[in-house]
Amino acid sequence: MKNKIEFGSWEATALMINLVFAQVMLIFPKDMVHFGGSAGWMISIIITLITLIYFTIVVKLYKNIGSLDLIDISASVGGRIFKVVVGLLITVFLTLVVSINLGAFAQTFKIISLDKSPLEYVGVLFLIGMLAAAYYGIEVVARINAFLVPIVIVGFILITLGAIPEFETNNLFPILGDGYASIAKGSILKLSVFSSIIILFFMVPFFKKQYLKKVGYSSIIISGLLLLWSTLSFILVFPYEIAIDKKVPIFQLARRIEIGNYLQRIESVFVLISAISAFLFLGVIFTFIIYIFSKTLDLKRSKPMILPMAVIVFSLALISKRLNIELIGSNALNLIWLTGMALPLVIIIMGAVKKVGVKDNGGVKNGQKN
């Protein structure tokens, strides 16, 4: 059966790139320094390579699955109960992702731009963007990503290019930083930056199946390059001893740029692009939460779920901040985030073993019900 909603490979690629890139706007480069010291940039390369290997395995397994998403595969593998269990598990996982990140983005903006504003006010602004995204649905969100993500990336690259005169190659030494063990630990824990790859396996029905490879590889490679460049720029400007204390790494990088008398204080560019990136990130995840939850429970209409889900997400975000737990970047949370890579792999292996695509011939309804 033909899918009601469709978008191209570029829309899907842009959306996937921003899901990874949004972490750069938070604390990713600082985390790299935390694990690797002066060798933090190596972790970016290692996690990108691991993710590429992971995706190669998944693509091979997907060969016989057709255009099914993870919920469809679960339904075919274990029936309705298994589908509901997997669907709810993914919903809870993504709710946790969006809540923690909503809190983190609100906190970041409070630090860099809205220091007098209450955290709730900043959070509500993001929530409005999320509600609008979920209301208009996956297709619109994907198309918005297609033209806003390049603007965000160009803004980021301009900031880092402006910082080049501040680069100091001595900052990359000692070359192995905190040593092999620390780099290995960081490479495992920070794989979590690619945990939102789970969304890719829900987008398969929205674009043609042959695009899975193209979307997956291109988004992983471009995201990997952005992760590497952000970490490298950060370490080249700030020696590891002080980089570890920098609260919002790319913002701090932007503050250093001063080219003559005419190019100064360009951190305002960072504030704008990180706001857009945050909206797109939160909007995409929240839209998929509504989609997955509705599909899991076979709800005829998904829009009534938007407001209650938003209240849950907002409450969780505020609770996490009020408890004053520094969740973003914590090892426990990094391990939880790995669910985003482990769960799809398990389900896809089960689907491949049972050859669900061959059996169902790809004929599963994937249209989003409104």
């Binding site: 010291g37 002066s38 903006f109 630090i111 860099i112 731009s113 809205l114 220091d115 007098k116 504003s117 006010y121 900043v122 602004l125 993001f126 409005i128 963007g129 609008a132 995204a133 208009y136 649905g137 297709e139 619109v140 969100v141 198309r143 918005i144 806003l148 100091e168 001595n170 030494f173 000692p174 070359i175 192995l176 930083g177 905190d178 040593g179 020696p239 590891y240 001893e241 002080i242 609260k247 503050r255 250093r256 001063e258 305002s268 504030v271 704008l272 706001a275 857009i276 909206f279 797109l280 909007g283």
Partner: protein
Amino acid sequence: MDRKIKVISLFLSIAICAVTLVGCYNNGEIENLAYVIAIGIDEADSNSFNLIFQTAVPKSIAGGSGGGGETTVITSFKTDNFLSGLKKTGEYVGRKINLSHTKIIVVSEKVAKEGVTAFLNGLQQNMEIRPNVNVIIAADGAKKYIESVHPKLSSSPAKYYDLLFKSYETDFLVPSTQLEDYLYRAKNYGAQPVAIYMGIDKDINESSKPSADEESKKMIIEGLAVFKMDKMVGNLDPQEATLFALLTGANNNINIEVKDPLDDRFKVLGNIIKEKSSITKVTVKNGKPEIDINLKLKIDVKAVQSDNDYDEPDKAAKLKKAYEDYLNEALKALLSKATYDFKSDIFGFGELTKRNFNTIEEWEKAKWPEIFPQSEYKIKIDVNIIRQG
């Protein structure tokens, strides 16, 4: 709903929220803020210090209806920490203090010798303050320095500070005197901090004032203050500071004069450009650093007081030798002073030494601050005289 309308609606929703996040709620009207352009720290009695704030008066600077008066207000408070001093100033001037236009932090020499990192740490955590604020050590006290600043050619004191430091760019002003670099150096071993050193120059007189007037003694930059971790241990004079800038490569537009090799009554002024092929290598052998400095310099002769023509090859060769001899001697004296007298690696040789170690743990085990004073130097200077025009 039509697809295009949906996309445009979502775009507008995101745009409105993004613009709001950039700062509408935090509307900071200029009338509601007090812009601090200089912060000073002077010694007081035990465990406390005098905190001085020089705050801009925007109306006077703009020359508007309320203009014509003083362009800055100087207030000082006795306090034991920066935050309470900041709060007191805000209460006193009746506005929220804003540090986004702060240009200098002035510390009295006496306080600098005791250490100021704890104070500056608190300051750096303020997101408003720029990382490139200049750190100044005032030999005669911070308040005295700030009060001595009366810009005559500019109505904006912030602009005055900007131009003041720019005017020294051709000599020895280096980025390592800025707040972020200062703090990095004060807390780590790879390089030690330097700051701008200010003193009173009694030779400067303004014709509008009697020369005997105390106020006419003007503060000028007298070189660089040298620190070991966060404590000041000495200072470099302007000549040494110029060589420091040359050696660290922080400035590639330095003027140095030498005695005319053909007539020692006169001097020759040259603009020195350090070539990119200049290289400094550090190796640690038996716990002792060996530092090879290979400087390749181009000297553009700017002014010759005598009638000697240094375009002629044999005369140019003599000038080349004069520069090489002068730089060799002066650099040796500077390195000796910093290494053996001050025991402070202000040149950042430690940062280069990190290349010899594979991991941070190995680097920390080397204990650079302890072995640095045992350093041995090999200096090679190659000068190439050029004359344009």
